[in-house]
């Protein structure tokens, strides 16, 4: 069985945070304590959406040391593939669900002298857990959080109440923007910067920091990549000896799972590297969308990350 180990949980609380974001609380069905995790970890939530299995990763936002329950926040995406809509429309208190053990691809570097957090929108969630973790050790941190508007500023009040000195909020609709060049400029040696939010924001922070001479090891990012729809395509799986069709609204990984092929995965978002698959042959073009392979590997035509990447063309043969 691929993926991290599973935990059976019950939904014990559903809290609307604002027009788009809802918080879900899970406790273990057997009444036992949940595993602790480290700030930045996510869990993969399984959804049975009318026969389609959806597996979506969500950052854990609760206190990493609180083993009584986990919380996640789900932003409703009306244009998305349906996972967030399922959570918003179909899940009710008392439901039993399956989630994965926490997996952390966005952990704090605890050697840092200072942690500088930059969040955009729902990208705030991993930082909520990291802040709780750091507060236990009196860690040195600072948060710069950009939201669309006051009405959509998830957890802004909690943050500014509890951490007025560390929290800085920027509202897009009031034309407030993070002055990143200045912000990075004054940071003491040993600062690590972490960014989670939309792709544009991640790229902006990475590029600005690298241009200012920040070491790569001091720049951390996590992007919520969801598989994108695309043209249907056919894949031959050499090891399983199967020819499968990947539909417009499913990922290559999901299509393999639907066909009963046990393909490895962890993050399902192009970040962890677990699903890396060797290409045996192809005639066509890859649509690479992951953060795992480097540019040369993307160009080589030898590897694909089936959780987020697609293919357009005549034939694709994978070693799976």
């Amino acid at each position: 069985m691929s993926g991290a180990e599973k935990i059976k949980v019950k939904v014990t609380e559903i809290t609307p945070i604002n027009e788009l974001v809802t918080r879900f609380r899970f406790t273990q069905i057997n009444g036992e304590l949940l595993p602790t995790f480290s700030g930045g970890a996510h869990t993969v939530v399984e959804m049975d959406d009318g026969g389609i299995t959806r597996l979506n990763p969500y950052s854990l936002m609760s206190d990493p040391y609180d083993q009584s329950s986990y919380t996640i926040s789900v932003r409703r995406d009306d244009e998305g593939r349906g996972g967030s809509l399922f959570m918003h429309n179909n899940v009710t208190v008392g439901d039993e669900m399956t989630i994965s053990y926490p997996v952390n691809l966005f952990s704090l570097d605890l050697r840092a002298d200072k942690h500088l957090f930059i969040a955009g929108g729902i990208g705030i969630t991993p930082f909520l857990a990291q802040i709780k973790q750091l507060e236990r050790f009196n860690g040195n941190w600072e948060l710069h959080y950009a939201c669309r508007s006051e009405a959509l500023g998830s957890y802004v009040n909690v943050l500014t109440d509890r951490h007025p000195n560390e929290t800085h909020i920027y509202y897009d609709d009031q034309s407030q923007a993070i002055n990143l060049v200045n912000l990075l400029d004054g940071q003491p040696l040993g600062t690590h910067v972490y960014v989670c939010g939309p792709k544009g924001m991640i790229n902006w922070v990475r590029k600005t920091a690298e241009d200012a001479g920040w070491p790569r090891d001091n720049i951390h990012y996590e992007e919520f990549l969801a598989p994108q729809p695309g043209k249907p395509f056919e894949v031959k799986l050499a090891t399983s000896n199967k020819v499968i069709q990947v539909g417009e609204h499913e990922s290559l990984l999901e299509a393999m799972e639907r066909e009963g092929v046990d393909a490895p995965y962890l993050c399902r978002g192009g970040a962890c590297g677990q699903c890396e698959t060797h290409v045996i042959g192809y005639d066509g073009q890859f649509i690479h969308r992951d953060h795992w392979l480097d540019d040369d590997e993307h160009a080589s035509g030898e590897k694909i990350m089936p959780c987020v990447s697609r293919f357009e063309g005549k034939t694709l043969v994978l070693d799976r």
Partner: protein, 198 residues
């Protein structure tokens, strides 16, 4: 001066690189002796505008050439120990975006690397280039004393007097290679000393 190619060794042994000018807010270059030549190789007027050079000549006569590059700040120290306070002060006031360049002997690079790591710069982000003497800074594993500028193997520990064999095992924390007693089993049986790389 030709660059010395260190023979391949165990993983513990540090691997030195080659300096290149990088983009950054400010630059700190620390060199001893022939390391000055590596700085001269990459210096440009723009780079020097934001560069602080700390140089320990160790008998070499490159200080004037470095001064002529007109770096933003130049400090010439009589020894590493006499310069380390200066290095710490520069690092404690520095901000992210500082680029660090270390060049010269392994002893200088290792000790300065210890300071930059303590200051929070990952060692992968610090550039190095070996120039000049291949002598080593050695720590005696028995008495823990440090002997500088060791050129021969085996050598006599300057603290406890044991005859030590020069190992490639390196301690980042001590910025020193480890020296192990060469005649512990068979007292007095000491091989003829020769150059470390001979």
């Amino acid at each position: 001066m030709a660059k010395f190619e260190f023979p391949p060794s165990i993983l513990s042994r540090p691997v030195w690189g080659r300096l290149e000018a990088r983009s950054g807010k400010s630059h700190l270059m620390i060199a001893d002796a022939e390391g000055a030549e590596a700085i001269l190789d990459i210096a440009t007027p723009e780079l020097m505008e934001n560069t602080h050079i700390i140089y320990i000549p160790k008998g070499a006569n490159h200080a004037d050439k470095l001064r002529a590059l007109a770096p933003a700040q130049f400090y010439e120290g009589p020894s590493y120990d006499a310069s380390v306070q200066r290095i710490r002060r520069v690092l404690s006031g520095a901000h992210m975006g500082l680029q660090v360049y270390l060049t010269g002997t392994e002893s200088l690079m290792g000790q300065a690397m210890r300071e930059t790591s303590t200051a929070g710069i990952p060692h992968s982000a610090v550039q190095t280039e070996h120039r000049g003497s291949v002598a080593r800074r050695m720590q005696c594993v028995h008495c823990k004393g440090i002997t500088e500028d060791v050129e021969l193997d085996p050598f006599v520990c300057s603290h406890c007097g044991l005859n030590l064999f020069v190992r490639d095992h390196y301690s980042r924390r001590h910025a020193a290679y480890q020296g192990v007693c060469v005649d512990a089993e068979d007292h007095g049986n000491i091989p003829e000393p020769k150059g470390i790389y001979e």
